[in-house]
């Protein structure tokens, strides 16, 4: 006899959760922070935010910092939509987001496949969309914490340092641009990471794929661009497509003379296809016909 206690019934009541996916998100966030090396990587991702806050401070104390203004560097300290675009679509931030996906998102679905956990999830009153939302919310947390939250914070800090609302008066749509582009980035990273996570049962392979697809798409663009010198080749690069959309969102001139909607279309098609495949792959049971 191995029982240590007798069986007792639970006399509580089930509750109807407004967000049935929240326990999944909470648990996976907890597991992500427990991962080796994840916390330093996540903390390091806030470095650009720190430098941009310093830049906002300098922009308000420009006379005190004349010594660094030589050579037309003053443009770096102009707080305008381009400043926010530079933060949200910087190579470094987009790359750090990929690194965060490598650590925190690779195993989100792959581990459930590997350890047959999907059966457990779906033996609960959980819909497929609750499961996917729970997983996507983990990615959304990390992406938004590095995009929308710091960018909105920049606005507050600018208002605080300036002592006036001139930034919002000049660019009243700026908060909407920040939120809109951050949500777009979040959506893309969620689909990107979840799609790759459901392609393998091994999170290590998924980590490699998350990293490799992003880097390789950029490499491909660089390779062909050097060869053909056609700006439309940027459509091959995930990073450049994201930056083109950012330029549109903040109303600034894009780096390449390619209409933003082509990039949006490429990313949209990728998300549609990936989303369809995710939905097809997630099942409570493997049905082989």
């Amino acid at each position: 006899m191995i029982r240590e206690h007798g069986y007792s019934h639970w006399d509580g009541q089930f509750i109807e959760r407004r967000l049935p996916w929240w326990p999944i998100t909470r648990l996976n966030l907890k597991l992500a922070f427990r991962k080796k090396h994840f916390r330093p990587v996540y903390a390091f991702s806030f470095m650009p935010a720190f430098f941009f806050i310093v830049a906002i401070y300098i922009s308000e104390r420009i006379e005190d910092f004349q010594f660094i203004m030589r050579g037309g560097r003053a443009v770096l300290f102009e707080i305008n939509p381009n400043f926010f675009k530079n933060y949200l679509a910087s190579d470094f931030l987009l790359f750090m987001l990929i690194l965060i996906m490598v650590f925190a998102a690779a195993g989100l679905i792959a581990d459930d496949f590997r350890f047959n956990a999907l059966t457990f999830y779906f033996s609960r009153p959980l819909r497929k969309r609750d499961y996917l939302l729970g997983k996507a919310a983990v990615i959304a947390f990390f992406v938004l914490s590095l995009t929308a939250i710091p960018a909105i914070l920049f606005i507050f800090i600018k208002i605080l340092f300036a002592g006036n609302f001139s930034l919002l008066k000049n660019y009243p749509w700026l908060p909407l641009s920040i939120i809109g582009y951050s949500l777009f980035l979040t959506f893309f990273y969620c689909i990107y990471a979840l799609f790759l996570s459901c392609l393998s049962r091994h999170s290590r392979y998924v980590s490699v794929m998350i990293f490799a697809v992003y880097v390789f798409s950029d490499f491909l663009y660089g390779f062909f661009y050097n060869w053909f010198r056609q700006p439309f080749l940027l459509l091959l690069s995930l990073k450049h497509n994201l930056q083109q959309v950012a330029a549109f969102a903040f109303g600034v001139k894009p780096a390449q003379p390619v209409p933003w909607f082509w990039s949006f279309l490429v990313l949209g098609l990728f998300c549609l296809l990936a989303g369809y495949l995710i939905i097809r792959k997630i099942r409570a049971v493997e049905v082989i016909r």
Partner: protein, 303 residues
């Protein structure tokens, strides 16, 4: 009726997994018995709403399996056959997590997780990482997650697979305890006859997707037949043909032992009369116990 299905059909491509299955479960523990590939797991997955039957309908705890699977899953506990867990977690977090997903408030799910882990004998190991658990411990963990939300009905799919004899006995003891007076109805799927005999009062035998028998184990074991074991000298085939003509069925084991199934209305004297007629000497004659194994073998048509 807690479970009632009628005329269920399901195929995996050209392979018929369930073919016109109709059954109902009463209270207590019911065994779902059948050889591998009989359709046991498919049936459980249909009852949980994981698979949609091509034809047929059913109700579990009063809810429609086609339209209300989420309500069913809230009230049913399911212990799958596969080895499943979530890496990087301890048993308390794991069990409480699935309690929460079932709709329990967080604090209560945590409290209840401790209780069920103690119940299944994992009390001391409840803070250990699941990766370090043995096969037996993982099996008990699967049972704990199935019990955490105090289900009215428990589906156990091959709960003793991959266990050593001691681990198997421990799990069966737990299931037996749950089946006795705890108010939880159990559907135990297994291809191991002794497991079903030990725990269940009722049995449903599936073979090639069809229900070949269902009822109380006690009734099935005693119905219609008396069993005798014999050894003979003489022309066995002729004698068996004579007995078959009189309505007896037989099987010959590998060591030459003949097992005779006598319908209730036939007098055992017929055996000797047939032997006299065919010139066979009976060297060994012993009334035998008709086991579930015998019934199962006859029902699914194997030795």
């Amino acid at each position: 009726m807690k479970v009632e299905v009628s005329h269920l059909h399901f195929s995996y491509g050209s392979i018929k997994a369930l073919d016109d299955v109709s059954l109902s479960l009463e209270g207590g523990a019911t065994g779902l018995l059948g050889p591998n590939g009989a359709g046991k797991t498919t049936l459980i997955k249909i009852l949980l709403g994981f698979l949609r039957p091509e034809k047929g309908e059913g109700r579990v705890l009063g809810f429609d399996i086609l339209h209300e699977p989420r309500k069913i899953r809230q009230l049913v506990g399911y212990m799958p056959e596969d080895d499943c867990f979530l890496p990087g977690m301890d048993a308390v977090t794991f069990t409480a997590f699935f309690g929460e997903l079932a709709g329990m408030p967080r604090q209560e799910a945590m409290k209840r997780a401790h209780e069920v882990l103690f119940y299944v004998g994992l009390g001391e190991a409840r803070y250990r990482l699941l990766e370090t658990y043995s096969a037996g411990m993982r099996q008990r963990l699967k049972l704990a997650q199935a019990l955490v939300h105090d289900p009215q009905l428990l589906f156990l799919d091959e709960p003793t697979s991959n266990l050593d004899p001691q681990g198997r006995m421990e799990i069966l003891e737990l299931i037996k305890d749950l089946a006795n007076g705890k108010g939880i109805q159990i559907l135990l799927s297994s291809h191991i006859l002794s497991d079903i005999e030990m725990v269940c009062e009722h049995v449903i035998i599936l073979n090639r997707g069809k229900v070949v028998a269902q009822g109380k184990i006690k009734d099935l074991k005693t119905m219609n037949f008396r069993l005798y074991e014999l050894k003979i000298k003489g022309e066995r085939e002729k004698w068996l043909a004579e007995l078959a003509a009189r309505g007896c069925q037989s099987e010959v084991t590998e060591d030459g032992l003949i097992r005779l199934y006598l319908p209730a209305e036939i007098n055992p004297r017929e055996i000797f009369m047939a032997a006299f007629k065919t010139g066979v000497q009976i060297r060994h004659f012993k009334p035998s116990q008709y086991t579930l194994e015998d019934f199962f073998a006859r029902a699914v048509g194997v030795d």
